[in-house]
């Protein structure tokens, strides 16, 4: 048993509190959102105040009448008001000296689209909050419509494939880079496939939110919308990292660093073939998407190469 204990994953050491959600909640089988939602409070602790909005998370985050699916202090708000509501909570808790970790938890549809303005505003004001985006690359709660985080070429119900259309014609908004360019305290990407990396970033986020705004962009493959077998979502997330489709990095006070540099990145096709939303892409379209991945990765590399800014 002693040698077995040695093998137990170090990730468990990051947990400072127990499960905050009910055993059975309404998320799809295999959805990494459930994993992320249960994981985050365990690392951040019980002073977390969760701020949420209509999204795949809402049926579990919001209660039903007086009943609740979790034990966290929770504030539900309109999609346009997540970051600003969190700022209101955080400002008051700081004013009265109450310990609190105010965490916005929204999908990419809120963060990158309808809730973007207040998010950008809160970042610019360096509000002492954590904003976590789970990126499933579309509006999944309403049935897989495109968002501005939907990648080039992806098929969704509003960017379908037909004789006159080939999926989404434009690129995904590069949210974590956009947020890093707000010069906030801390920005990081994370993946449910790399849980220790994720846990470290949460720990750092909790500390950095005392200085200012923290933005976490977490990859969240959707088994339903992307058409992935439920057991493969973590593999898809892992392959997104290994192909540099979703590089794991952080920017602490403007200092960029790859936290999981991939020695020999795999071709993008090894990622796209795990799901159906890219199944229609021809060779040229695949090459275009690969080019996008290469360019975005080159940007991250260039930012990392700048090193620590002079004091």
């Amino acid at each position: 048993m002693a040698d077995k204990a040695k093998k137990k994953s170090r990730v468990f050491d990051y947990f400072c509190t127990g499960e905050q959600f009910a055993g059975g909640v309404a998320w799809c089988a295999g959805c990494p959102l459930e994993l992320i939602a249960r994981f985050v409070p365990k690392v951040l602790g019980k002073d977390m105040v969760l701020v949420g909005t209509p999204s795949c998370a809402a049926p579990v985050f919001h209660g039903q009448n007086v009943g609740a699916w979790h034990k966290l202090a929770y504030y539900a708000c309109v999609m346009t008001g997540v970051a600003s509501s969190a700022a209101g909570l955080s400002r008051y808790y700081h004013r009265i000296g109450r310990e609190a970790t105010v965490v916005c938890f929204t999908g990419d549809g809120c963060a990158a689209d309808v809730g973007f303005q207040p998010l950008s505003g809160a970042a610019e004001r360096n509000e002492k909050i954590i904003y976590l985006t789970y990126d499933n690359e579309g509006y999944m709660n309403t049935g897989n419509q495109r968002s501005s985080a939907t990648p080039l070429g992806a098929a969704t119900t509003t960017t379908p494939v037909g004789v006159a259309a080939r999926g989404k014609p434009t690129l995904a908004k590069d949210m974590p880079i956009i947020m890093a360019m707000h010069h906030v305290a801390y920005v990081a990407t994370a993946s449910p496939s790399h849980l220790e990396d994720f846990a470290k970033k949460l720990v750092k986020a909790k500390a950095k939110k005392e200085e200012g705004f923290v933005y976490l962009h977490v990859f969240c493959p959707c088994p339903v919308g992307w058409r992935i077998d439920p057991d493969k979502t973590i593999q898809v997330a892992r392959m997104a990292v290994r192909t540099n489709y979703f590089p794991l990095w952080e920017a602490e006070d403007g200092h960029f660093r790859l936290t999981q540099e991939v020695a020999e990145p795999r071709p993008l096709a090894e990622f796209t073939r795990l799901m159906r939303k890219f199944a229609h892409l021809n060779e040229g379209e695949m090459a275009n998407l690969q080019q996008v991945v290469n360019e975005r990765y080159a940007l991250i590399k260039a930012l990392c190469a700048m090193g620590k800014p002079p004091a």
Binding site: H62, Y75, S84, Y92, A100
Partner: protein, 398 residues
């Protein structure tokens, strides 16, 4: 008891609003500038910068964020203040609904201005009318002193344990926002004492880290109905509470406004006009002049628009032979102005007397002495049984 005295200064309506907010010691202030409200936002930032107000002032990137921010802060336990106008008010519409349903006791001034579409940087109550069904308490005031006093009273109302509702204090853009007149600014210690009863009541629900509670749950069937019902009942309680707070304010500071409505020379009047906002001031002078000329006219100033003061309006207007109503906005889909349309809903109490609707004061156009004179003359004619026009757009017909 001797009325508490303050310092008299010549300040604008906007400055009166900012001073009122400062005097109530808010925890969190957040507003986005917009003409003709900007002076309020600027002054609050200056109070903060000068160390005259110990509040967190958050310069948000839009009105929607301002309302979400103060709503959430309020739910955390803060006393909050915000200010807006027109485009800003409608931009925060979703958050307005949420703030009301969350029963967050936010106090906001809305500086009345025309709404988007026919672009107009000018006065009009259309913005307030457009948010009528948001579940807020809506109060309309007449002059700079009333702006200041009503904001202080608004906190007593909003934060009352039996009420717990956001309160919107409306005043005319330009005509009041930029009007400079002598205003008595109370001492902050006196305002503290006036607001003191709020500290002696049960604690309203607050979002506290570590407690397993959630503000904003799904209302499922009867849960939804119950929350809606409670909201409507709270609005009903506002009616009497507004009068009570007004009386208390009058006793303490020596200035009262009548609560839900103010009836001016109506008791022995044969006919009456119903007016709100800055036009009520002008209407007084016209009523006085017409009285001199032998016309038995009175005026009712509508102060509370939501909830609608049906009982007190009926009592003040019952027995009048005709009523003229001046609206500074329109009611899309009804021919008469919105306040007039609502008054007509009281016909069971008022009897089938002529109710004449006048649309005036849109887009900064003046509700002049002549216009109000015409309203009184035509209402008097209707009271005598002469034929009358149901709806008159005064600027188009004078």
């Amino acid at each position: 008891m001797k009325a508490k005295k303050g310092q008299v200064r010549v300040i604008t309506g906007n400055a009166a609003a900012a001073h009122a907010a400062r005097l109530c010691r808010p925890d969190i202030v957040s507003a986005y500038p917009i003409t003709p409200q900007s002076e309020v936002t600027e002054m609050l930032s200056q109070f903060r910068a000068d160390g005259l107000m110990d509040a967190e002032v958050v310069e948000v990137e839009g009105e929607n964020s301002a309302m979400n921010l103060v709503c959430a802060a309020s739910i955390a336990g803060a006393r909050t203040f915000t200010a807006t106008s027109s485009y800003g008010l409608v931009f925060m519409y979703d958050a307005l609904l949420e703030t009301a349903a969350y029963r967050a006791p936010v106090v906001m001034v809305n500086v009345n201005r025309e709404t988007p579409g026919i672009h107009a940087v000018s006065s009009g109550q259309q913005d307030m009318i457009s948010t009528r069904d948001s579940g807020w308490v809506q109060i309309i005031v007449e002059d700079c002193q009333e702006i200041l006093d009503q904001i202080i009273m608004a906190y007593r109302l909003a934060e009352d344990y039996d009420i717990q509702l956001p309160v919107m204090v409306n005043y005319d853009g330009f005509y009041l926002s930029y009007l400079a007149e002598a205003v008595e600014i109370p001492l902050i210690e006196d305002v503290d004492r006036f607001l003191e009863p709020l500290k002696k009541q049960p604690e309203r629900p607050k979002l506290v880290p570590g407690r397993p509670v959630g503000c904003g749950t799904h209302g499922i069937e009867l849960g939804y109905v119950e929350a809606r019902y409670k909201h409507c009942m709270a609005l009903e309680r506002v009616l009497g509470k507004v009068d009570e707070i007004d009386r208390g304010f009058g006793a303490y500071f020596g200035r009262g406004y009548g609560g839900q409505i103010e009836a001016y020379r109506t008791e022995d009047a044969e006919l009456a006009i119903l007016v709100s906002g800055s036009a009520a001031g002008t209407a007084r002078t016209v009523v006085d002049a017409k009285r001199e000329a032998g016309v038995r006219v009175g005026m009712v100033k509508l102060r509370l628009f939501r909830p609608f003061p049906a009982g007190r309006l009926t009592a003040a207007l019952r027995g009048k032979k005709a009523i003229g109503v001046i609206d500074r906005s329109v009611s899309f889909g009804w021919p008469s102005g919105p306040i007039c349309t609502e008054l007509k809903a009281l016909s069971s109490g008022l009897g089938s007397v002529p109710i004449l609707s006048y649309i005036d004061g849109l887009a900064n156009m003046d509700i002049t002495v002549e216009h109000i004179g015409r309203v009184i003359d035509e209402t008097a004619a209707a009271a005598r049984g002469e034929p009358y026009q149901e709806v008159t757009w005064l600027p188009l017909e004078s």
